[in-house]
């Protein structure tokens, strides 16, 4: 029975990896998106590449990560990070590019230094789009982390589903699958609500 299994610890283990990977994706992706906006040459050169990577089957590269990082949380986190950093970069670039020129021109006419321009004009204006990127990153990271846990039999919820199947404890397996669905649904609706509230606030 699933009740006897460490459901809570599996849940927190998955959540921890997802959270770490999403934060890492934000930390790496937002500056990358800003750089693509700030230096148009970078933006022009890499935008299509990043967009192409977004639709590429990155999770299929996981045997490569197994080879490089071993079978552990690092591999799962890296795949999660990689699938999350792409939407963050893309959406940050999109958000900055869509900031009205009027705002930037006003800031420039007030002789705002670069740092203040970023903090007071660009970031607030781009925030809703950046948050969309973060939500997408969270979704992609969750999908890939849980999927990978199932595939390599390691870690939290995904591992639990595989374990129950291997034991042929079918009711428990259905319970674990239902739990995964429940968690991801709740997570996504919460992220969506938060995004809507944020969109209204700005």
């Amino acid at each position: 029975m699933a009740v006897e299994e460490p459901l809570a610890s599996a849940f927190f283990s998955t959540l921890g990896v997802v959270f770490a990977a999403t934060v890492a994706a934000a930390v790496a992706g937002i500056p990358a998106g800003w750089a693509m906006y700030r230096f148009p040459l970078l933006g022009k050169a890499y935008e299509n590449w990043v967009a192409a990577l977004f639709s590429a089957p990155l999770i299929l590269l996981y045997p490569l990560f197994l080879v490089l990082f071993g079978r552990g949380a690092l591999t799962i986190g890296m795949v999660g990070f990689l699938s999350g950093v792409i939407p963050v970069t893309l959406k940050t670039y999109e958000g900055f590019s869509a900031v009205p020129m009027v705002l930037v021109n006003v800031a420039r006419s007030f002789n705002l230094p670069e740092r203040a321009l970023l903090a007071k004009v660009l970031l607030p204006a781009a925030l809703p789009t950046v948050f969309t990127g973060l939500r997408l990153a969270f979704i992609y990271t969750t999908i890939n982390v849980v999927g990978l846990e199932y595939l390599v039999n390691f870690g939290g919820l995904g591992f639990l589903v595989g374990l129950m199947y291997d034991r042929y404890d079918i009711p428990a397996m259905y319970a674990a699958v239902a739990f995964v669905l429940l968690i991801s649904m709740l997570g996504f609706s919460a992220a969506e609500r938060l995004e809507r509230r944020l969109g209204r606030g700005s």
Binding site: I139, V180, M185
Partner: protein, 268 residues
């Protein structure tokens, strides 16, 4: 711009080669790109590779066909019938971004560990992007066209076949493009997890027998094939989009437009 791209590629390749030859990491883990290319050539030259390729193509093709057919049917009925749409949309909306691979154990119980569960995996994966895109595309049908159909007393089937579908087609194909991408991922992951044939199986077998250059080669080939499939369906989408723009009705000036709003089921 082109120079920067070229420079990036060259730099990445040089970094890989340097890492492979530096002796910092075990040679088997980061093989030289020449070794990988040589293994790719030998994979492509072996007959066994094509039997794996055929198996994967079969699974992806059938799964994708089943998934998109179901997606288009459900999405269209959800879009046309307001009641059904409101009822089903919340479920589709929250189920769409869940990890589909987690259904694999259920599918293996239902359809067996052989080709059936892989086809079902591809079908489930491609179903969601297609149904979402189809449902959204019903909104793209110009209301003017629906009014014309109605004034000609077109039956419901005629309206669906002659008005809804032609307007929805480009958006549906875009959804199918996404669907094909995730169907490839889903099917290959299912093969990686449990199978004895197919490209996913080939990749994981190379990993398990520690033939790392062969593993990289197989992954390289899979990526190339996935990109090629994506480009092919993208071409179709572009062509449809262009034709659609050419044949789309001009916006009717408002004074000729009917003042009476269309009530009821025709409006998504």
């Amino acid at each position: 711009m082109a120079y920067l791209r070229l420079a990036t590629l060259l730099l990445a390749w040089a970094a890989w080669e340097a890492l492979a030859r530096s002796g910092l990491v075990f040679q088997g883990v980061v093989p030289s790109s020449l070794t990988v290319l040589a293994s790719a050539a030998s994979e492509l030259g072996s007959l066994a590779f094509y039997s794996h390729l055929w198996r994967s193509t079969e699974e992806i093709g059938v799964g994708f066909a089943v998934g998109s057919a179901a997606g288009v049917t459900l999405g269209t009925s959800m879009g046309i019938s307001v009641f059904f749409g409101r009822m089903a949309h919340p479920y589709i909306h929250v189920l769409a971004p869940t990890p589909k691979i987690i259904f694999l154990p259920v599918l293996m119980i239902l359809f067996g560990v052989d080709i059936g569960s892989k086809i079902a995996m591809g079908a489930i994966s491609s179903f969601f992007p297609v149904v979402v895109a189809t449902y959204d595309s019903v909104r793209l049908v110009p209301p003017v066209l629906l009014r014309v159909a109605r004034s000609f007393r077109a039956s419901r089937w005629q309206t669906v076949a002659k008005v809804y579908f032609p307007s929805m087609l480009p958006a549906i194909v875009t959804g199918m493009r996404l669907g094909l991408g995730v169907a490839i991922i889903g099917t290959l992951l299912a093969e990686i997890k449990l199978s004895n044939r197919g490209l996913g199986f080939l990749a994981i077998q190379r990993y398990e027998s520690f033939h790392i250059p062969d593993l990289y080669a197989v992954l390289l080939i899979i990526f190339a094939l996935a990109v090629a499939a994506n480009i092919a369906i993208g071409r179709v989408a572009d062509r449809l989009q262009r034709r659609h723009v050419m044949h789309a009705p001009r916006q009717v000036p408002h004074r000729y437009d009917l003042k009476e709003p269309i009530r009821g089921r025709d409006r998504p």
